[in-house]
């Protein structure tokens, strides 16, 4: 990346993330969930697929504590986990 003023080159237009940015968790309310997730990753050789349950729980924590806008988990790509849970409940 160069910070020089290049008039000829195509300038990079930064795009904000689709859902915005997470508000800072100053009080560390969801820290325990994060720790669980990190531990899971370490144990599973950093494979995300095996730790999706923990990541879902972290996001749920955030939504509960108003650190994230409420959104159905299906829209966050956890459809398989939620349907599994609802099936288990039945």
């Amino acid at each position: 990346m160069s910070t020089a003023m290049n008039f000829g080159t195509k300038s990079f237009q930064p795009r904000p993330p689709d859902k915005g940015s997470f508000p800072l968790d100053h009080l560390g309310e969801c820290k325990s969930f994060k720790e669980k997730f990190m531990k899971c990753l370490h144990n599973n050789n950093f494979e995300n697929a095996l730790c999706r349950k923990e990541s879902k729980e972290y996001l749920e924590c955030r939504m509960e504590r108003k650190l994230m806008l409420q959104e159905p988990l299906e829209k966050l790509g956890f459809g398989d986990l939620t349907s599994g849970k609802s099936e288990a409940k039945k």
């Binding site: 990346m1 290049n6 195509k10 990079f12 940015s21 508000p23 800072l24 560390g28 990190m38 829209k75």
Partner: protein
């Protein structure tokens, strides 16, 4: 054999000659003829010739008088070709104006083409520009491509003037396209003065926060022929210091 033919005084009155022989007609005719012949060089004939010359001269003088002359036209003196030349000149001027207008128009179009093309690329998504699709619907319906494992490595940078500790909490993570993933960065403000994040969230002195990154790789990635050999993606975040009303420099794109 008609009547008498007396041409005398009628034919040559201006010469001052008078016909003084009213004799026989044949003889009168004989006498008339020499006077009427043009090569007659007697004084009467000369006078007549002079008068003729005089008239001709007067005509030409009238033509060259400046007060009566029409405005000067270049080259041709014939009025028909003059009009044609005028017409041709006018046509030339019109053509020149049109050509100049076209040239200027082309120049303007070449300048306008750059932003217009960029706009077109962004809306249609051609040329590799990112298109903002219906993200939430896509996420809901996307199916993970389980056989394509991609390694995501994380990088964290801060701007030289910023004194934060900013680092990822995991060095890498393995995902597949179509699967949402979570990752964490940690930022600590070791100084005693509060700083602003890039979204203007303040980090208090000695405060440390976890910053989650929630992302996914589009399932279309697996079908992209240009991405066949790609197995490593690096996510890099850089923190810049944001002052009040300070416009952040946009990094150059090579």
């Amino acid at each position: 054999m008609g009547g008498l033919w007396r041409p005398g005084w009628r034919c040559v009155p201006f010469c001052g000659w008078r016909w003084i022989h009213p004799g026989s007609p044949t003889r009168a005719a004989e006498r008339v003829e020499p006077f009427l012949r043009p090569e007659w060089s007697g004084t009467g004939g000369a006078e007549r010739g002079l008068r003729w010359l005089g008239t001709w001269k007067r005509c030409s003088l009238r033509a060259r008088h400046p007060a009566l002359q029409p405005p000067r036209r270049p080259k041709s003196s014939n009025p028909f070709t003059r009009a044609q030349e005028e017409e041709r000149r006018r046509q030339n001027k019109t053509t020149l104006t049109y050509v100049a207008a076209v040239a200027v128009g082309m120049l303007g179009a070449s300048y306008a083409a750059v932003p217009l093309y960029r706009l077109y690329c962004q809306t249609t998504g051609l040329g590799g520009s990112a298109v903002a699709g219906h993200a939430s619907d896509k996420i809901e319906n996307m199916v993970p491509v389980k056989d394509r494992i991609i390694k995501i490595s994380f990088n964290a940078d801060v701007h030289a003037s910023l004194q934060w500790n900013f680092r990822p909490q995991q060095t890498e993570i393995y995902v597949v396209p179509g699967e949402t993933a979570l990752a964490f960065y940690r930022a600590k403000n070791p100084t005693d003065k509060p700083c602003f994040c890039f979204e203007e969230q303040r980090l208090n002195p000695q405060e440390e926060v976890d910053m989650p990154v929630f992302f996914y790789i589009d399932p279309e990635f697996a079908e992209d022929p240009r991405m066949i050999k790609v197995d490593l993606i690096t996510l890099s975040y850089t923190f810049f210091e944001a002052k009040e009303g300070h416009k952040l420099p946009v990094p150059g794109y090579n």
